[in-house]
């Protein structure tokens, strides 16, 4: 099946082996659960996949409304999948509002599976339909499968004596059953999952299983016609090994634990709930057996304050939030930076400014990360590009923090945090440890300990309170580079500012050089990205190269300091475009650092880039 509108006449070889399905319904319809379980069965089938959960900010938006629609999209196939897919091939619409808001995205000729039972007059009017679209012929350009799933679910769960409302809750499992049939999937893992999930309420488990089986049986017995025959998507080729699905939030959490272990330190995590960062706090608070202490603070300032205190006392302090909370942490970040204590700050970016779009994704906190503190206050910034990449990035952030005695900002975003993808479980033995050596030697007679003495990385010594003979005072007031005592002198501030800047720039000597993800240095156009735009950029560049276009992909992990060779690489291309889910922030950094004529490609709709959008921009850049 084709994935984008403009490619429909000429189906691509590579796309024939991939399908995009979107489940959409009311926020009470359980679509995220359906999507999650469909993802699991997809992964177990050996397909490569990427998902995009997209839900409203309201916990329970009024039923049936357009803004209350919750959707889950999955792209899976027998080849490498990099994005959740541009346009769905199959849309499951559980009510009129879901159909109305999602139909415009469906590929022409795509499949609509709708719960006709939910297309009541009331729901139709809430969604703004005057006529029932399932009956008025307006869906003629699509393959429509209109089933009264509500009624069938009620019928299937009848033996369990549930109330009407309770019984209808199993509708999402009926839908999932049908989807499992459609893609020739096993039901057993979902049965198992339901039994565990409802272990305390066996009758609910049984009702859901009955609904799932009924949906599956419906597919088998109803004569649905050629278009709706089950199809098998073959397993994607993959390196041998153990795999699991992972979301970005899970991978970051595990990576932080691994990072602390590689540093040989207990980890302290301070957090305050905020979408989409809370998942990290939730994961870590279950893992106390790994030397993790979690602290739900009274606000984001307290969360980072406590993390700084813990680092000062010899743990690896970590804090996490999203844009608004990161803004609150600004002053404390400066404190960590000026007292030169290790700290990892995770920003799960969401649409801003202010409260913005809490549940939608954006990459608009790059300036905040690189520049967003008072004073000359540089800190390393690392950007995660995908859920599976998050694990390594978190380890890298921990490494830089302890080796350079500095706060490090780790940027991820709402899309990565929630999206799942298959992950080849890494062998932890393959990571080099970076054990911390606390400074413990007291100065000799007549000598004084200088907390701002520096090693070859310009890092200062880390002394744990409790160490005899090394009592000293640190703080946010400027300190003498030679004694560590308060020093306001002009010369000293100049020197300390230089040292702080050089230390962070020196990180560039200890990170990999920038590679070219696709193409080579002799290509005409470079598409430069960072963060979660990796997938769509990769696919777009891949497709354009297949068409013979001279375009390369560069994807930057180390956003600050930038890899040392990046400037030369960029200057080697005739043209540079920078797709970003913001108004052109990384583009500005690149222009500033290298005086290259980087051109922006911006999208701030709260949705990830579509491959087609980047393809079009590449074409325009090359031909324009």
């Amino acid at each position: 099946m084709a994935s984008t509108a403009e490619t429909i006449e000429q189906p691509r070889e590579e796309d024939a082996s991939a399908v995009v399905v979107r489940f959409a319904g009311d926020s009470g319809d359980g679509m995220q659960l359906t999507g999650g379980q469909f993802t699991l069965s997809t992964a177990l089938e050996g397909n490569d996949l990427a998902t995009f959960p997209d839900f409203p900010a309201e916990i329970r938006a009024p039923q049936g409304t357009l803004f209350g629609v919750s959707a889950f999209q999955i792209n899976f196939g027998s080849r490498t999948i990099r994005t959740a897919g541009d346009a769905p091939d199959v849309l499951v619409a559980m009510n009129p509002a879901a159909l109305k808001t999602n139909l415009p995205d469906l590929v022409p000729g795509g499949m609509v599976i709708a719960d006709s039972g939910a297309f009541t007059d009331r729901n139709l009017s809430k969604a703004g339909y005057e006529e029932n679209p399932l009956e008025d012929g307006s869906l003629e350009g699509y393959q429509l499968l209109s089933i009264d799933m509500s009624a069938m679910t009620l019928e299937a769960v009848k033996p369990f004596g549930l109330g009407n409302k309770e019984a209808l809750r199993s509708k999402n499992m009926w839908t999932l059953g049908l989807a499992l049939w459609m893609f020739d999937r096993k039901r057993a893992p979902i049965h198992d999952w339901l039994k565990t999930k409802f272990a305390k309420k066996p009758e609910i488990a049984e009702a859901n299983i009955a609904a799932l089986d009924a949906g599956h049986a419906y597919g088998e017995t109803a004569e649905l016609g050629y278009a709706f025959q089950p199809r098998k998507v073959a397993a994607a080729p993959a390196e041998p090994g153990l795999y699991r699905t992972v979301t970005g939030a899970e991978a970051i959490s595990m990576g932080l634990v691994a990072g602390a272990q590689l540093a040989g330190l207990p980890m302290f995590f301070g957090g305050y709930p905020i979408t989409p960062a809370s998942a990290i706090l939730h994961h870590l608070s279950r893992w106390k057996q790994f030397g993790v202490t979690t602290f739900q603070a009274e606000d984001e300032i307290a969360a980072i304050g406590a993390a700084i205190g813990a680092s000062y006392a010899g743990s690896l302090g970590v804090t996490s939030s999203s844009g608004p909370g990161i803004a609150l942490k600004g002053e404390a970040m400066g404190l960590a930076l000026v007292t030169e204590l290790p700290l990892v700050i995770v920003n799960s970016q969401r649409g801003g400014p202010s409260t913005g779009l809490p549940t939608k994704t954006e990459q608009s906190d790059l300036y905040q990360a690189v520049y967003g503190r008072n004073g000359d206050a540089p800190m390393p910034v690392i950007a995660v590009r995908s859920p599976s990449d998050a694990f390594d990035c978190a380890i890298e952030a921990c490494r830089l923090a302890v080796q350079f005695m500095t706060p490090v900002m780790l940027l991820t975003d709402g899309y990565i945090a929630n999206a799942a993808e298959p992950w080849k479980v890494p062998d932890l033995g393959g990571y080099s440890p970076f054990p911390v050596a606390f400074h413990e030697t007291a100065p000799g007679e007549g000598e004084k300990f200088n907390p701002y003495a520096r090693d070859d990385k310009l890092a200062r010594p880390w002394v744990k309170p409790g160490t005899p003979g090394l009592m000293h005072r640190i703080g946010g007031i400027e300190k003498s580079s030679s004694t560590g005592n308060i020093d306001y002198s002009a010369q000293n501030h100049q020197e300390m500012t230089r040292l702080r800047s050089e230390k962070v720039l020196g990180v560039a000597d200890h990170i990999p050089e920038q590679d070219i993800a696709l193409g080579d240095a002799s290509d005409t156009l470079a598409v430069v990205g960072w963060g979660s735009t990796y997938g769509p950029i990769h696919q777009a560049v891949n497709r354009m190269r297949a068409k013979g276009r001279s375009v390369a992909q560069l994807h930057v992990r180390h956003v600050w300091p930038l890899p040392k060779n990046l400037g030369d690489l960029l200057r080697g291309f005739d043209k540079v475009i920078v797709p970003e889910m913001n108004n052109g922030q990384f583009k500005t950094v690149l222009r500033d650092q290298y005086l290259v004529d980087a051109k922006p490609l911006n999208k701030v709709s709260g949705q990830p880039f579509r491959i087609g959008e980047i393809e079009a921009a590449i074409e325009e850049a090359l031909d324009g």
Binding site: Y243, W287, E298, A302, S311, A313, L428, K464, M471
Partner: protein
């Protein structure tokens, strides 16, 4: 605070080599000396002691102590102290804050520190003014305080630090005066208490709010203006000629005369430091009609936050697989051959 074998130190061991830079005559000097003098009596070591402060004149304090010290940011010392103590509960943590630092910008953190009952000592230097920023009125300034930002007098009502602390659930609340010799005894009691020990210290800012506490702090009139609370002793003042009794109709304290030392006959209340209601009444007595209550007003230990966190961390680890490799490979997995 911690139980360990007492260590012998002298006053000198607690003095750093830094020149003290408060205005001459500032009450902070007396508090510093009182703390430095008290430390040897606590049997603790400088290396195991951490002073953490926010920002303000008072918050310069850690630089003058030969201990570990962290001069943090305005109002946030409680947050840093929380991280320090959770990361290493063995450390003896002292928090130094001002009325602005601890009750204005940092009021929220103070509330949560107290309700959580983190094991540490909080010394709130109350000078009823923002000293460091040159004398603006503070949340403890009395109505009508004239300052650079309130040239016509402040109009908002002040907070009572100790009433706030009790309301927040503090388990140890005390009051002292910078130059009063009793401060050392109060510090010792605070240190002996496990949990957040909150001490409001009336501190004279000689430059911006000189003698604002003089009406009750002055030595000459102290007998009549101060009531020092001692657990198990009657609440007497004015050389035992007056006492505090309960007005049962109004459910508040009243001043009664004590004839011939027979305080029982006068109905004078015996101080019970575990009685929260009594503590509330003591801290809220309006000065003028009443003396000012000083010393350990309330002390009723409860489990500390740091010990609860530590216990849960250990309990939640029991019987769990400590192998991170196993964790990352868990869940629904599949193998590609």
């Amino acid at each position: 605070m911690n139980e360990m074998t007492p260590v012998k130190t002298t006053l000198k061991d607690w003095e750093s080599d830094q020149e003290v830079r408060w205005c001459p005559g500032c009450g902070d000097y007396a508090i510093l000396k009182a703390v430095q003098r008290t430390m040897p009596d606590l049997g603790v070591t400088p290396e195991n002691t951490v002073f953490i402060s926010g920002i303000g004149c008072s918050s310069r304090f850690p630089y003058y102590m030969e201990t570990y010290g962290f001069h943090t940011i305005h109002g946030r010392a409680p947050t840093i102290a929380t991280g320090v103590k959770l990361a290493n509960p063995e450390l003896d943590v002292w928090l130094i804050t001002g009325d602005g630092d601890g009750l204005s910008i940092g009021g929220n953190h103070m509330l949560h520190l107290l309700r959580r009952n983190l094991d540490c000592q909080v010394l709130l230097f109350n000078n009823e003014i923002y000293g460091l920023t040159k004398g603006q009125y503070s949340p403890t300034s009395r109505v009508g305080t004239r300052s650079p930002s309130t040239p016509f007098g402040s109009v908002d009502r002040p907070v009572s630090p100790c009433a706030f602390a009790l309301g927040a659930g503090a388990r140890f609340v005390a009051r002292g005066i910078d130059v009063n010799k009793n401060l050392s005894a109060t510090l010792k009691e605070a240190h002996a208490h496990k949990g957040t020990s909150f001490i409001e210290i009336f501190q004279n800012c000689i430059v911006y709010n000189e003698d604002v506490f003089e009406p009750f702090a002055a030595k000459k009139t102290a007998d009549d203006t101060q009531v020092w609370t001692v657990h198990g002793e009657p609440l007497l003042f004015a050389k035992g000629e007056k006492g505090l009794a309960l007005d049962t109709d109004k459910l508040e304290l009243k001043v009664v005369d004590v004839a011939d030392g027979d305080w029982e006959a006068a109905g004078v209340v015996v101080h019970d430091q575990t009685n929260r209601g009594l503590a509330q009444m003591l801290v809220q007595m309006p000065f003028g009609d009443f003396p000012v209550a000083l010393g350990t007003l309330y002390c009723d230990p409860a489990p500390t936050f740091d010990s609860a966190v530590g216990e849960q961390n250990s309990a939640a680890s029991v019987g769990k697989d400590h192998d991170l490799q196993a964790l990352i490979g868990q869940g629904q997995t599949w193998t590609v051959e």
